[in-house]
């Protein structure tokens, strides 16, 4: 955004009125809750107290993966009526650079997961690995679709969303308590 050229100057009869327009107009309602619902991480809580495992907790990681896969399916098939919250189309190089950065993050988190493998509940590890496999499969699908249709902003948004879910899942795993230590979790 720059200032106007002289030949594009605002005519005097409108300039006065325009200068008087407020720079800010508040929305008709507080939109933050709607924004927050769209962007907040999916809660993943796999930590458990020994002998008091809520069965649903083990499904959360799977649901994260399922959500990622569903989102990709919608992006690829373009179900009518859906209006995904998309990111603006970025050049292919920018997408690749971004993907490289995200992969670095996920790789670091995967190293952390490996390092903690012996501390975590085996069933949790199994569910997490299945969820990660589903997410990686979704990433491969949308990557393939992007090769056929580079620059498709819906697919780019889907790719970003799936990676976001992978990062969320891995960060949640990194925060899990050590279940092998006496007294942990209750």
């Amino acid at each position: 955004m720059t200032t106007h050229d002289d030949d594009d100057a605002i005519p005097a009869d409108l300039a006065g009125l325009l200068a008087d327009l407020p720079r800010e107009i508040e929305p008709s309602e507080d939109l933050w809750e709607g924004v927050r619902r769209e962007i907040e991480p999916v809660p993943v809580s796999l930590g458990r107290a020994p002998n008091r495992v809520h069965p649903g907790a083990w499904l959360v990681a799977g649901l994260v993966a399922a959500a990622a896969v569903a989102m990709v399916t919608v992006a690829i098939t373009g179900r009518p009526g859906d209006r995904p919250r998309i990111a603006e189309a970025a050049p292919a190089e920018a997408v690749e650079q971004w993907e490289s950065d995200v992969r670095q993050t996920t790789d670091e988190l995967l190293v952390m997961l490996d390092a903690r493998r012996s501390e975590l509940d085996p069933e949790a590890i199994r569910v997490i690995e299945a969820a990660l496999a589903d997410i990686d499969s979704a990433i491969a699908d949308v990557r393939g679709a992007l090769r056929d249709d580079p620059g498709n902003d819906v697919l780019e948004a889907a790719l970003a969303g799936v990676y976001q879910r992978k990062v969320q899942l891995l960060r949640s795993v990194a925060a899990l308590p050590n279940t092998t230590e006496p007294g942990v979790g209750g």
């Binding site: 106007h4 009125l17 919250r85 960060r171």
Partner: protein, 182 residues
């Protein structure tokens, strides 16, 4: 996804941006609170509809969260957000246009002014109404050029039109506004 290294002299990044990049929703909410009025003003004037402007404003901040990693820090966050908002609003209006009636057949434009200008000076309110009543393309160009300060070449790139077309739409918008305000 750390912020890239920058020239210290040009670092204009609000520290909340870095915290938001690390997933801090509270930091991002602070950014939202600081900028929502400015962004909504752009949306309100470009869309000509309060309800759609609300929807677009929400979408802008969702998009900003998802694109935050692309913020290079060599410009003010407000400038980056403003540009992102304009692109998001134009995209949203294109989507709406696919299901809307052709321009000029959409009936009476919404004339309800935004709540915080309801009691302002009559001339200003008339201008807000007159802007809202402009045909879509003319309104978009007028708001981007005369209100937001973009150049024709920038507007042409964002809207996918030529600079000449942008100039023509601006001329048309100004003429219509003069007629509406006379």
């Amino acid at each position: 996804m750390a912020l890239p290294a920058r020239d210290p002299d040009t670092v204009l990044v609000d520290p909340r941006v870095a915290r938001a990049l690390e997933g801090d929703l509270q930091a991002f909410e602070g950014l939202y609170r600081d900028h929502v009025g400015r962004i909504h003003a752009v949306a309100r004037r470009m869309c000509g509809s309060a309800a759609f402007a609300d929807e677009m404003t929400q979408e802008v901040f969702v998009r900003a969260w998802r694109k935050l990693h692309l913020f290079q820090g060599n410009a003010r966050f407000s400038t980056w957000l403003h540009r992102l908002a304009v692109n998001a609003i134009l995209d949203g209006m294109r989507r709406e246009a696919r299901v809307a009636l052709p321009e000029g057949q959409a009936g009476e434009p919404e004339v309800e002014p935004p709540p915080n200008v309801r009691y302002l000076h009559q001339g200003r309110m008339d201008l807000e109404r007159a802007i809202a009543a402009l045909p879509t393309k003319a309104r978009q160009v007028f708001v981007l050029h005369d209100v937001e300060g973009f150049k024709h070449e920038e507007i042409a790139e964002m809207m996918g039109i030529t600079a000449g077309t942008a100039r023509g739409q601006l001329h048309r918008a100004r003429q219509l506004l003069r007629e509406a305000l006379s």
